[in-house]
């Protein structure tokens, strides 16, 4: 992120005021949405680990050859490897970074970080959440009671402020508000204006949407505004935060989308195997075959395979069978 650690309030206000926040349709393609991200932007990614990762959008940004992004996320999985290896981003701000506990430590992350090719700035999971929350609330910091006393706080000393409670005198840590330039979020359904309804695990998506300067929304399906209005208490992201709505079935594959499909373990195992023997060659091969190679997202899904997708979908729907 260029500029100061915390944006001053009047800048934040001007950024939002400058946007057209009227009730207007924003449906576009992945390629068009990719044009809304500029090189060097701070991009926040919704979902967590293997869940509701906006994979199709990240995939599209890599194909559009965007570079120099700073990326933040609660917990980073395989998408972090692809971001580093493709040059899309050189800094990831997150609480955890590896494919997933069952696959061991990411060798691609290790290569980039240990060789000084890229940065992984570590914050506690709750601090990440509170940074987005402060950003979404329009306040410049949030007081927190973790990251104190440990080395996690120590290596972030330039970015946090020890403080005393003005009422109790207690020692607290102020973590800085995080207001990303762009948020990438994937949801189960949204209308053409960007009103989004999330099922199941929400992670930090709502706070991220409120904190960002603008939201790019990918959605399993676009529903009518009438359908949204029938259950307004299920809407989680208000349309005026959103700049793009892209309908992308299986848009978080090979990760899961709650109630729609489980992670596509065959793909994840394949990626882990590829990068286990040769991290850099393996991730390059994966990028060539699965990101740069396919004609479009449907082409990518064809590579994953119909039967695999159907299995993941069957497992995903199980949550509603009880």
């Amino acid at each position: 992120m260029s500029g100061p650690l915390v944006k001053d309030y009047e800048t934040l206000r001007r950024e939002i005021a400058a946007r057209d926040r009227g009730l207007r349709e924003k449906v576009m393609s992945l390629d068009e949405a990719a044009q809304l991200v500029a090189d060097g932007d701070h991009v926040a990614i919704g979902g967590c680990t293997l869940s509701r990762t906006p994979m199709a959008m990240i995939w599209s940004l890599i194909r559009a050859r965007r570079t120099g992004l700073t990326v933040s996320r609660s917990i980073t999985s395989t998408e972090g490897d692809l971001i580093f290896a493709s040059g899309l981003g050189r800094k990831i701000v997150s609480s955890w970074f590896s494919q997933g506990i069952v696959w061991g430590i990411s060798k691609v992350m290790r290569h980039h970080v240990e060789k000084g090719l890229a940065e992984f700035d570590e914050w506690s999971h709750m601090a990440m959440g509170l940074r987005y929350r402060a950003g979404g609330m329009g306040i410049p910091f949030m007081p927190v009671r973790s990251m104190i006393g440990s080395d996690v706080g120590r290596i972030r000393a330039d970015e946090v402020r020890p403080m005393r409670c003005p009422f109790t005198g207690e020692e607290l840590l102020a973590v800085p508000a995080l207001n990303p330039d762009v948020a990438l979020l994937h949801v189960q359904r949204a209308d053409a204006y960007g009103n989004a309804q999330l099922d199941g695990l929400q992670f930090m998506d709502i706070d991220i949407a409120m904190a960002a300067k603008k939201v790019i929304l990918t959605t399993e399906r676009i529903v009518s505004n009438d359908q949204i209005r029938r259950a307004p208490d299920h809407t989680r992201i208000p349309f005026f935060t959103v700049e793009a709505v892209v309908e992308v079935p299986y848009g978080s594959a090979p990760h899961e989308c709650y109630g729609q499909y489980e992670p596509i373990f065959a793909q994840l195992d394949r990626y882990a195997a590829l990068t286990a023997k040769d991290p850099i060659g393996g991730v390059k091969q994966y990028l060539d075959e699965m990101v740069y190679g396919p004609k479009d997202w449907a082409g990518y899904l064809a590579e994953v395979g119909l039967e695999t997708l159907l299995t993941a979908s069957r497992r995903g729907r199980v949550i509603y069978n009880d």
Partner: protein, 260 residues
């Protein structure tokens, strides 16, 4: 994989750790559990003796019941929400720790030291690490804000005099250093390994062996530890894993995803 055979039953080190760790829980507690052994141990306790135990997951889940054979790959997938009482944003489930609703944090560990500090961030210096580990996740929050149980393999390279990096604070430099440095609540309570159950001296906060698993000697524990361990005045021996416990663990993890 070390196999013990103290009774008629054979079990893996991971199964032993899960069973011994699960027994440390109390009915009615609220347990913030990591994936893997902690999840298995807490589910085991829930099934065997603690029906009113509530499990929390970092992904934003209160009171789920894991379906046997469908263990989640992390605490952030839908498998974690099966038959849950409540699903909420991850920041808010972490805030339950800060508000004081959680009795025990329960996680695995890569490296631990004499004062129960855990490292899951860096081997070597942080600015030029030999190995960049995955990082804290919620570990720092959990261990900063509640009492902790850690379950891990007992190896000399994991039990070190001083961790390279304090990711999850235990008792920091011992004595009252944790409180002095701004953490007035929580702290490392128990470390459960495949050899023993350890606690921490109430005054100095040094690690202390409380109980040995069947067939294990104190010397064996010390030999696998990179610092001098305290020995409890009355060192006890744990009851071997029972057939019911082993059967349940294997029902939960038939593919041995976490208990191989």
């Amino acid at each position: 994989m070390t196999e013990h055979a103290p009774t008629s039953t054979v079990y893996t080190a991971s199964e032993l750790i899960a069973i011994m760790a699960g027994r440390l829980l109390t009915d009615g507690q609220i347990v913030f559990a990591g994936v893997g052994i902690p999840l298995l141990a807490a589910t085991l306790a829930q099934r065997v003796f603690a029906p009113k135990l509530t499990i929390l997951f970092e992904g934003g889940v209160i009171g789920p019941f894991i379906k046997p054979g469908e263990l989640p790959p992390s605490t952030n997938e839908q498998r974690c929400t099966r038959r849950a009482n409540m699903v909420l944003p991850s920041t808010d489930v972490l805030l339950l720790l800060q508000r004081g609703y959680v009795d025990v944090g329960f996680m695995g560990g890569a490296q631990i030291d004499r004062y129960g500090n855990l490292n899951s961030s860096f081997i070597g210096p942080a600015d030029k690490p030999a190995i960049r580990l995955p990082g804290t996740g919620g570990g720092n929050d959990i261990s900063s804000l509640t009492d902790m149980i850690v379950a891990m393999k007992h190896e000399k390279r994991r039990f070190v005099e001083k961790v390279d990096f304090v990711t999850s604070p235990g008792w920091l430099d011992g004595d009252d250093s944790r409180r002095r440095r701004g953490l007035p609540t929580g702290g490392m309570w128990r470390v459960v390994t495949d050899l023993a159950v350890m606690g921490f001296d109430a005054q100095t906060r040094e690690m202390e062996v409380l109980a040995l698993h069947p067939g294990v000697t104190f010397e064996q524990v010390q030999d696998n530890t990179g610092f001098t361990l305290r020995r409890a005045r009355e060192l006890s021996v744990t009851t071997p894993p029972q057939a019911e416990e082993l059967a349940l663990i294997r029902e939960l993890d038939p593919g041995r995803l976490y208990t191989a």
